[in-house]
């Protein structure tokens, strides 16, 4: 997998058809033998042209992936957002200790007194607390747990 592009593309990198493809294809494809064919028709394209354009947009980094979006929680996993207040002088050392845990799925430095925010992903709910306790022992710093209590439906779409 190529690394994620973090800079904007030139404004003329995508044309109106590319933008229409991105806007439409965030909503989901039908699970049928030829999923691009039906969609291509809606967009006034043929199947090959649609696939070629998606390929080209993936190559320039406008699209990061095409495929199923899995809800890991629905598969039985346990997740928890956690935060720590890490003294500036110890930041890199604590980061190394935290990141060494395979349960740490992602970790961000943020602008706040609580300056380290990470997500624990475990097979079983009990492992969340165990892992957090272990990180507290290793670092000598408290780990605050922010489990999801309610998730709201999201209408977010990137308008290309």
């Amino acid at each position: 997998m190529t690394s994620l592009r973090r800079t904007p593309l030139a404004p003329d990198a995508l044309d109106a058809i590319d933008r229409a493809i991105i806007n439409r294809m965030q909503d989901g494809l039908p699970l049928v033998s030829h999923p691009f064919a039906a969609l291509a028709n809606d967009l006034g394209l043929d199947e090959d042209t649609l696939i070629t354009r998606i390929q080209a947009m993936r190559e320039i980094g406008a699209i990061t992936r095409f495929g199923p979006f899995y809800d890991a929680e629905a598969m039985g996993g346990a997740f928890c957002l956690c935060a720590m207040e890490v003294p500036a002088g110890r930041f890199d050392a604590v980061m190394t200790l935290v990141n060494a845990h395979p349960e740490v799925a992602h970790n961000y430095e943020r602008t706040h007194r609580l300056n380290m925010w990470f997500v624990l992903a475990c097979e079983k709910a009990a492992q969340i607390k165990q892992t957090a306790d272990q990180i507290e022992r290793e670092t000598g710093l408290p780990v605050l747990l922010f489990p999801k209590e309610h998730e709201f439906f999201i209408g977010f779409k990137v308008t290309a």
């Binding site: 904007p8 033998s33 992936r65 199923p68 709201f152």
Partner: protein, 161 residues
């Protein structure tokens, strides 16, 4: 739902994405030695159960100019939290919206991730949320990420995730 051994193989084969070919499910079926109909049936069942949210493209926010994001956090009245959270989640610039427990020194119970073209725009959008919440909001803050310290994909092990 119970994830079968075949489901698990389909998941493992497709977490990285589907091939960009006219019949992508047939190609996955070929990798796994099953029929195209079997792959489509199992993925349809997983979508019905919410294990698959959708089969779609993921645009790159950064490439499309949405380079700024901030985790906005709000202390709102618990009695109104479900109603107000639903309104905030529905905003087109909010990509994640959750209720989470408060903690010592942390009065915020609503988390909403805001995306914009720059930090000024994110602040303007944050002000829109503040207006929407009105007096039901007692305090708020926003946390910008300054560094990604670790990022991994979905992990699959023998027993489960």
């Amino acid at each position: 739902m119970t994830i079968s051994a075949l489901d698990r193989r389909i998941i493992a084969a497709t977490t990285g994405g589907l091939p960009l070919t006219p019949a992508p499910f047939a190609e996955v079926a070929g990798w796994l030695g099953v029929t195209e109909d079997t792959v489509i049936d199992r993925m349809t069942a997983m979508q019905g159960a919410g294990v698959i949210r959708r089969v779609a493209i993921a645009p790159n926010h950064y490439a499309l100019g949405l380079t700024a994001n901030g985790m906005s956090v709000w202390d709102i009245d618990d009695a109104l939290a479900i109603d107000l959270g639903a309104q905030i989640g529905a905003l087109e610039f909010v990509s994640h919206c959750y209720l989470r427990p408060r903690a010592d020194g942390w009065p915020y119970n609503l988390f909403a991730m805001i995306h914009g073209h720059n930090r000024d725009e994110v602040e303007t959008l944050r002000a829109q949320i503040a207006t929407l919440l009105g007096p039901s909001c007692r305090a708020s803050d926003i946390l910008y990420s300054t560094r990604i310290l670790k990022k991994t994909g979905l992990r699959l092990t023998e027993g489960g995730l």
